[in-house]
Amino acid sequence: MLRDVVSSLDLSVYPTIAMVLFIAVFCVVSFRAIRAGKTGEHDQVAQLPLREDVPELGSGEAAR
């Protein structure tokens, strides 16, 4: 019964919708991710590998 209903539907537009959704999400995520690299709000954590040789007090995120 359910199979008959499903098989009689024309779902050919779905792949196109899925592709548009996929590309849209891809573009939004890419844009936001790359743009955010320059806003500076993650600078403190991004510095972690570079500053570990000179441990210093108050160098954490809240120090900004």
Partner: protein
Amino acid sequence: MSDSTNGAANGASSTNGSAVVMEKFTYDDAIVRKFMIATFLWGLIAFLAGLFIAAQLALPALNFDIPWLTFGRLRPLHTNAAIFAFGGNAIFTAVYYSVQRLCRARMYSDLLSNLHFWGWQAIIVAAAVTLPLGYTQGKEYAELEWPIDIAIAVVWAGIFGANLLGTLIKRRERHIYVAIWFYIASWLTVCVLHIFNSLVVVAGPLKSYSVYAGVQDAFIQWWYGHNAVAFFLTTPFLGMMYYFLPKAANRPVFSYKLSIVHFWSLVFIYIWAGPHHLHYTSLPAWASTLGMLFSVMLWMPSWGGMINGLLTLRGAWHRVATDPVLKFFVVGITFYGMSTFEGPMLSVKSVNALSHYTDWTIGHVHAGTLGWNGFMTFGMIYFLLPRLFQTNLWSVRLATAHFWVGMLGIIMYWLSMYGAGVTQGLMWRAFDETGSLAYPDFVETVTRLIPMYWIRFAGGGLFVLGVLFMGVNMLMTWLSRPPKYDEPVHEAPKLDPVYKPAPAYRSDLENVVGLGRKFDEFTHLGWHRKWEARPVKFTVWVLVAVAVASLFEAIPTWLVEANRPTIATVKPYTPLELLGRDIYVAEGCYVCHSQMVRPMRHETERYGEYSKPGEFVYDHPFQWGSRRIGPDLHRIGGARNHLWHWQHFENPRQISAGSIMPGYPWLLEQDLDFGQAASRVRAMSFLGVPYDADAVLTAEDLARAQASQIAEEITIQGGPDAESIETKKALALIAYLQRLGTDIMAAPDAEDAEQEPED
């Protein structure tokens, strides 16, 4: 945010005179030196083994008719050594160096560190001994037999896990950096993969059978196999990239935010992709389509990672010209980008129809392992040498020479295998104008590849030459080390047990609905910053990300009856055939021969009826294979007479001119241990294979009777005297081969025809 390490509140309070507990500590670099040297030594052995077996493909006589020098046994040694010995030690070098520094803490326990090191080396030695001797489970990259599997679980899951998590818990830096997320995901997922793929029923001290059979075994094996690539060869090396590249370039990663997106999308998506190794096989189509879709999606986070890596060098590109460390990293990351584009492409079914079973896959894999894993490791080693040996690198010019020689080697390897793969794939499917196969003789499609096999050998040789350069550089740098290593004492405040996160970001967007404001706050990732401060919670979320996909794919495969149809005429193997199958597995026949005829006209034309899922229900483990260096064997049963096989084992080229199969003369000389038949049948019965109640008792007699019968037939066909050969190993293998793929042709017992699956 306020903790004793980096809290503003504490910083302020310390100026007010209240106590901040400062702790002194040193880093354990001795363990890093050990892992680094092991990386080099095992790498060299893995690469030389690869070079040797590459030469064997062009010159098969190079096995010298010695069992433990034969391709089928050495290829697993090569892959295991490259992945787990070279790659594994490289991972541990990176983890032990970077985690201590990122956490501002010595490793949790020196004892665990050393147990980890020596335990892992012992496992490698055990593998290097057992694999050439033919002790194998017959599943790619999971060949090691059960006692070694248990040791891996103890060392990786137990010792390494305790040491890593212990260090995270006693860390002095609140935030765990992105490199550590990748290490956590690697450790956790490899635990899960290894344990579930290695579930076996023991049939002897070094013999076991996978609890899974046929389609399920294939599914779980490639869930494991693909994610071994993901979580052993990708995520730990991404951790390496996120730590060592900023260090070497002396600038922070391009986008921390992108690394968050990169991490979670990669971890979540990768785990679904395994079934792309099984396109057009007997795996249910929904699973393989799902694998394909997620593989294509995987392109996105992979390239996100590559871009993040390459753009980290913005403003530092001029240094790439002079610094061999950055050279290796840049090319390594570029190879990561190229192979993570090629991978999704190869996972598209229509491309895979051509590429699967050919050398294209081999080329793809080596672009990843030599280019990405190799070059990232070499870059890391050149970065570490002066720091760990506390002196200057002996020769920057030699390191630069290593880079160029290695890169030329990889390109020669990759292009020749790409050419070989496409050539052979096209030849297999070519029809002439009469509608017959253009190259009906499989050997024709092999001899065409020999020149490319020599180019591959030369490329591999150059790569090894580069590694030897590195060895010289390591040795000379080590020789100029100081008499005693300086062990600087570091000081950092103890981590405040109470974590007070920084005030959350409040959206300042105006004229938007509440939902928009919430979305804005979400995308500023303050919630993720809190996760970064809680490694245990973080680990749990990683487990969720990995488990969801695994369960979505695995549960239907087990529970939906339609996914494992049975065929009434398919019966369990006879005791002799079981023993023959053991030989097939032990000799690594699956390394060069598939047992899976795909439903394509050129395949059914060449091999016969395509393979059905119900034909493999008693196959513990499955032996579908992944590469056809020789032809498919699923319909070999009855296609040749016994004598043909006998003579073919003795020397394939006396039967089939131009064949590159090595000779197996020892199978004609060594006696079969018929006494093992009972234990094999018992193990299979335990796994649910329907043998009669007295099958264990009669197993040996049945095996001997069948062997005598085959021996007599060989004599009748013009072979040696039956009495002189009726105990030989070859008879069991012949019995197995003659059985392969024949059951569906058998007449049904009574009413049972093929039981069509309900869908």
